[in-house]
């Protein structure tokens, strides 16, 4: 089963992603949720999702740290990490790219941007 992890400390943002991905979920993809960096890493270790939508400013361990862990951990580095953040400055984007993030999406975003990220990971016919 395909798995997508949504990591954001704001409940409304998690709900918004869930709604945008509703059809993807109905197609058989499992949606997982985490509200902080430590919880995200626990789920990543246990569930090994295919795609992570990752906020940067999180309690416990921030998104940069989570991204670095994923991309430097043997067996996990192929997980697609789409950073989803309100930090729009170029320095933040560069820091995320340095952490090996695969995509950088700034809030507020259009739903199509989220769906495009899913297509990029799973292909258009496979979800």
């Amino acid at each position: 089963m395909k798995k997508i992890l949504i990591v954001d400390d704001e409940p409304n943002n998690r709900i918004l992603l869930q709604e945008i991905l509703e059809e993807v979920e109905q197609g058989g993809t499992m949606l997982l949720f985490a509200a902080d960096g430590a919880e995200a890493l626990d789920i990543i270790r246990a569930e090994k999702p295919d795609l992570v939508f990752l906020d940067l400013m999180l309690p416990e361990r921030d998104g940069f740290e989570v991204c670095r862990w994923v991309k430097h951990q043997p067996g996990f580095e192929s997980i697609f990490v789409a950073v989803l953040t309100a930090r729009s400055q170029e320095a933040d984007k560069q820091k995320a790219m340095d952490a090996k993030a695969d995509m950088y999406i700034t809030k507020p975003f259009k739903p199509s941007v989220i769906i495009d990220a899913v297509y990029k990971v799973f292909g258009t016919e496979d979800i």
Binding site: E10, N12, N13, E19, A35, P59, A86, P108, F109
Partner: protein, 209 residues
């Protein structure tokens, strides 16, 4: 005391004109974009709450972007603070608890953008650093010759060393350093900060009235 200082400080603001006037200097884009994302989310599940949130964001922006007099009435500053708090409560739901204890008919002048950044600091650097969040309390009381404003949180707190560093010149970009400087320039006693690591922080201002 405040009136005497007003002319001097207004001159200071004029000399620094342009330095703090960009949109980004007045409004955190991170805060704004996250707030707009909450509006998008609420539009689907609770349109009335979305409309209310747009109202709070409008008030917040109006106060943030208004022509900035050095001194505001306490009511004006509170309007800004309450809009900010109401937005943050929508964003963080149960993780953020707010207790307001504001006495009736308290009037005084306060340097602009003094209280809101202190509350911002308590929320973002105090309680939201905890996974479970916490409580921010804002208390405003009339004393015989002053108004006492207290913002306390039960967040992550600071060591004595960290508190001491807040007012070092090397930390001049920190919001609390800037507020302390503005208060002192206006002839008001600077911020009084008490903090205990892992227990929380209390910031107090006493404004002569």
């Amino acid at each position: 005391m405040i009136n005497k200082a007003k002319g001097f400080v207004n001159g200071l603001i004029c000399r620094n004109a342009g330095k703090n006037n960009s949109f980004e200097d007045r409004v955190s884009s991170h805060f704004l974009f996250n707030s707009l994302n909450s509006v998008i989310s609420l539009c689907r599940k609770d349109p009335e709450a979305a409309a209310a949130l747009v109202g709070e964001i409008s008030t917040y922006l109006q106060r943030s972007l208004a022509d900035r007099a050095f001194l505001l009435s306490l009511d004006e500053e509170l309007e800004h603070v309450l809009a900010y708090i109401n937005i943050q409560k929508v964003r963080f739901s149960d993780r953020l608890r707010i207790v307001l204890d504001i006495g009736d008919n308290i009037q005084c002048s306060i340097p602009a953008l003094t209280l809101q950044p202190i509350v911002d600091n308590a929320i973002n650097h105090g309680v939201l650093k905890r996974k479970t969040g916490g409580t921010v309390s804002v208390s405003i009381r009339k004393l015989p010759y002053s108004v006492q404003i207290t913002v306390s949180d039960d967040g992550v707190g600071m060591t004595g060393e960290q508190v001491g560093l807040l007012f070092k010149r090397s930390n001049k970009e920190h919001s609390l350093y800037k507020i302390n400087h503005v208060l002192q320039t206006a002839g008001i006693k600077g911020l009084q900060i008490k903090s205990v690591l892992n227990e929380g922080t209390t910031v107090m201002i006493e404004i002569p009235s």
